[in-house]
């Protein structure tokens, strides 16, 4: 049997999902009551009254809850998940507004009724009275702090953090050349196909709560819900059903709905379900990405960076449940593959009366990459040097690995790159896109009156973030292998990738391996799915667990077959003497033998019962240090994150009249260590590129000055269709194995999106000859940029 590691195995999930046999949150709980919410229409207001009398006559109305109904633990603000010493003024929302609302969409009342239609009817009839307060919208208003989002947070500043290595001010002062740049990126949002949803069922007799939620972390939700409802951990189980995309927004927990729905289910003694609609997802989940940056960079004649100073302002919305992860990732990953001699980064994380901000695929890296890569291009332009030459001179060389930047990363650990070969990446991308052959193409196009441009952008991504993940593998007497890991899946193909690893390790057909993720009943210790960590963390853990199971199987088989374990191999699910297929017994039989039985439940089991013969009568059936069954449980906890990297290059065409932007070619060279399933990795890249195109050209959250989100629907929030994404994404791989895990792999989930805005901005700038310093850029904005730079329109 050839190894599955590196094979383009067809995804095992797809047949079921494509046929409509998926079980997403809204498919579950048909007998449950439905919850709907009254949400704030104001960005900032005091609530003066809530009159429910108009809703009383709605048939099927079961309950209406407001803040006053909440018991003590629920009446506290929701948890601040990731505390940080710099986060001096952290604020999180109450599950239901406590007299004040801080963004359009904040939940004020929960209605429970026989179905969602009736619940919404009732919600519409609830009359809330407000005293509007001045709204703080956008970074400029937050920085000016004429008005405050939270009365007790001066300057709207949740946090200020500085990280530095070297003496940056001195380095810049002494540099021959200095550039100053201002760069800005707009808010966007994860916008998964399936919004959030929660279903809860309380069993009064066993005092047990079961919850299903469309989340990226079952164990996180379980811990939070148990704490908020005053239950023991063992009284709560959380199951993640099929999930239609997460992309970061579903890592936040607990959402108000995730604690209110189980609370109501318990109070009412009936299952309760909530699924959000699209507008709710726009105004009541999370956004990401809005930042303003000021760069000051000192460099020499060759373009080597001597000192890089980045000052930025991060819009974290009305609350910070996820702490400072996004700006910390920007701060640290901005460095990319480069080694500036001195680096200083400072950020303010500021409140605004808008939806809260939490990671969205890339989690702060797209901003950081945009800043660094635009700076590189600006240096190259100032010196008249080739843009790849300048980058090359600043690369960390392979021989310098592991490279310590002297900063602290988002996992709380030192920012040390373990491996990577950036010069090799650059050579590959230049080949792939034809970098050195572009100039004549550009001239030829120009002669035809067309404008084309080429750009590229490099990134480094810390993946496989800790603290740990675990895996459990058990071989059943049928020969089927059941695998469980605690983190969750949102469509990435985990069930396929993890099955490949276990099938390989154990020597069984992949069809016999079944993987369950995100179910606390099957695996209770886990962190979650984020930061491109599943393959590294759960992949390593299930591999180690499978190894343990294999060892046990070989030992039991060796005993039964009276040979040495070292002489055995497992292939195609058969344990046999190496090279002798006829000698084999099935793994299922080994599983039977591993469990001494008193009662035979089927024919196969007879072999393990007490009168079946064999066995050493002087020893107990199960040795003191042993266990029945063929099982393995293992955990993987790396010393720090492992760093993937890549470069994207794009060729775009801009229309001289309409300023429409068309992507002619999009090339990706990426390094995520060894590849388990190249098809899955490519799928991840394709999806990431699509989101990168969206972020570069289309996606923004349009808030007006009153804090109203005016494009809270797909009519006005533009997401790329198939027609906007390059038909072919040209991909080349590089594999620098990671020394930090047994598989040598790195994460691949977010890579596709990180350099998208930077590469496209660079290409547009090259086509137009106009600096592009903010994204996204639409044709109208390009048109205006042209005018601002004195270009005539034809």
């Amino acid at each position: 049997m050839s190894s599955l590691f590196g094979a383009r195995v067809q995804r095992v999930e797809d047949d079921r999902l494509v046929r409509g046999h998926g079980a997403y949150l809204d498919d579950l709980g048909p007998d449950s009551l439905a919850a709907a919410f009254v949400r704030s229409p104001h960005a900032h207001a005091r609530i003066t009254d809530i009159d429910v009398s108009g809703a009383l006559d709605v048939p099927g109305l079961v309950a209406i809850y407001t803040y006053e109904d909440l018991p003590a633990r629920l009446a506290e603000p929701l948890p601040l998940l990731i505390p940080h010493p710099a986060l001096t003024h952290g604020r999180t929302p109450y599950p239901l507004a406590n007299g004040e609302v801080n963004h359009v969409g904040e939940a004020i009342a929960m209605v429970v009724a026989a179905d969602r239609y009736l619940a919404e009817d009732a919600a519409d009839l609830i009359d809330v009275s407000y005293e509007p307060l001045p709204a703080v919208v956008g970074l400029d208003a937050a920085r000016a702090a004429v008005h405050l989002v939270h009365e007790d947070v001066p300057g709207n500043r949740a946090a200020n953090e500085v990280q530095e290595h070297g003496d940056t001010a001195a380095a810049i002062a002494a540099a021959r050349h200095v550039l100053e740049l201002d760069l800005e990126i707009e808010r966007s949002a994860s916008t998964p196909l399936e919004g959030r949803g929660v279903l809860a069922r309380w069993d009064e007799q066993s005092q047990h709560l079961v919850m299903w939620t469309s989340t990226q972390t079952s164990t996180g939700v379980r811990a939070a819900v148990a704490a908020k409802l005053g239950l023991d951990l063992t009284q709560v189980d959380v199951i993640t059903p099929d999930v239609g995309g997460g992309f970061g927004v579903k890592i936040v927990h607990p959402w108000p709905e995730e604690v209110l729905v189980p609370w109501a289910a318990r109070l009412l003694g009936r299952p309760v379900k909530f699924t959000e609609d699209r507008r709710e997802h726009f105004i009541a989940s999370a956004h990401e990405r809005g930042q303003q940056h000021h760069v000051s960079v000192g460099y020499d004649d060759e373009g080597r960076i001597l000192g890089l100073d980045v000052r930025f302002w991060h819009d974290n919305g009305a609350y910070v449940p996820y702490g400072l992860i996004v700006p910390i990732v920007t701060s640290t990953q901005l460095l990319g593959p480069y080694k500036p001699a001195a680096y200083r980064v400072e950020f303010d994380s500021l409140y605004t009366n808008t939806v809260l901000v939490t990671p969205y695929r890339g989690a702060g890296r797209p901003q950081g990459c945009f800043v660094m890569e635009r700076t590189m291009d600006a240096i190259a332009a100032a010196l008249g040097l080739d843009r790849t030459a300048v980058r090359e001179r600043n690369f960390i060389q392979p021989a310098e690995m592991p490279y310590d930047h002297g900063l602290i990363f988002q996992d709380g650990r030192p920012l040390i790159y373990d491996s990577g070969d950036y010069p090799a990446l650059l050579t590959k991308i230049k080949d792939l896109v034809g970098w050195d052959k572009f100039a004549p193409l550009k001239e030829a196009a120009s002669a035809e009156g067309r404008r084309i441009g080429i750009g590229l952008a490099c990134y480094v991504e810390g993946t496989g973030v800790g603290p740990y993940e675990g895996g459990h593998v058990v071989v059943e007497t049928s020969g089927k292998v059941k695998v469980a890991t605690g983190l969750t899946s949102q469509g990435q193909g985990h069930q396929t990738m993890l099955a490949q690893l276990v099938a390989d390790e154990l020597g069984v057909p992949i069809a016999d391996v079944e993987v369950v993720t995100g179910d606390t009943r099957r695996f209770g210790y886990a962190v979650g799915t984020f930061a491109s960590r599943t393959a590294v963390m759960s992949g390593s853990a299930v591999t180690l667990a499978a190894r343990k199971a294999k060892e046990k199987a070989l030992r039991v088989a060796a005993d039964a077959m009276e040979v040495a374990a070292a002489d055995l191999e497992i292939t195609g699910g058969m344990v046999q003497v190496k090279g002798d297929p006829d000698s084999g017994i099935s793994l299922g039989t080994v599983a039977v033998l591993s469990n001494p039985l008193r009662y035979a439940f089927d024919d196969a089991a007879k072999a393990a019962t007490q009168f079946a013969g064999g066995g050493d009568m002087s020893k107990p059936p199960v040795a003191p240090d042993d266990e029945p069954g063929i099982e393995g449980r293992a955990y993987f906890s790396p010393v720090r994150s492992t760093f993937a990297s890549g470069i994207h290059a794009a060729i775009v065409e801009t229309d001289p009249d309409t300023a429409e932007i068309t992507i002619l070619r999009y090339c990706v060279v990426h390094d995520c260590g060894l590849l388990i399933n190249p098809q899955i990795v490519e799928g991840q890249i394709h999806g990431g590129v699509a989101q990168g195109v969206g972020g570069a050209l289309y996606e923004r959250m349009a808030y007006d000055e009153e804090g109203q989100l005016v494009n809270a629907s797909f009519m006005d929030f533009l997401m790329p269709y198939v027609s906007e994404v390059p038909r072919e994404v040209e991909i080349d791989h590089l594999e620098t194995p990671s020394p930090l895990n047994p598989l040598g792999i790195k994460g691949a989930g977010e890579a596709g999106v990180i350099p998208g805005a930077a590469a496209l901005a660079a290409a547009i700038e090259d086509a137009e000859g106009i600096p592009v310093r903010s994204m996204p850029i639409s044709p109208s904005e390009l048109f205006e940029l042209r005018r601002a730079h004195g270009q005539e329109t034809r």
Partner: protein, 254 residues
Amino acid sequence: MKISGVVTLRAPGGRVWTGLTDPAVLLATIPGCERLEPAGPGSCRFAARAKIASIEGSYTGEVSVSQQHEPSSFVLTVNGAGAPGAVSASVQVRLAETAGGSTELSYDADAVIGGLIAGVGRRVLCSAARRIADDFVSSVDDVLAGSAIAGNAIAGTGMVSPPPAERAAEPPAEPEAALVPATPVPAAIAVPAAVSVAAAAPSIAVPVPAAVSSIAAPVADIQVPAAFARGVLVGAASALAGVALAGLIERRAR
């Protein structure tokens, strides 16, 4: 949880006090009342139906009156329970004459609610209770103002009480016979003509008819007829079946 309200009735205070003591009035105006009978000094047993949001059910229990200061105030204590839950409340009721010869009735209730009904949310309970109380008081207002009792359907009973004219015409020996549903009210609750609805009651100090006062074995110092106590308290009890809770929801939600 506390709820309170103020309602103005068109009739002067004395007639209101009297009206509230007339079981004929009460049975015609209390939402959902199905049965009431004496249970001891100053107290009555009741049975009533109430619907809060989509939770509908019957409640039975006891009400009693205390701290009476005729004609201006008294306190009701209600304890009732049923499949939907349990209610325990204390209500301060005050009557005051207004300048125009009307009566201002104000109530302050303090209630604790348990059971299924406790789960509907404080504002729903409050709102529902207020609505029932307001329904009751405005029905009383209509009746006292001379509007026909006919057409005043008795909530939950499907029966309609006859118009006041009929009642004034005949000696109301058994006036409730026309009003009381299947479960008969003991004859002891019969109210003499002196307390009929149609009669004007110019003074607040209504003499307690001996027949009535002997019925409910009233507490010696009670000036208010037992029937008054019963009637008003039954009304309040069904009204307060939906009164919002204080800490019970929190405690229950543990």
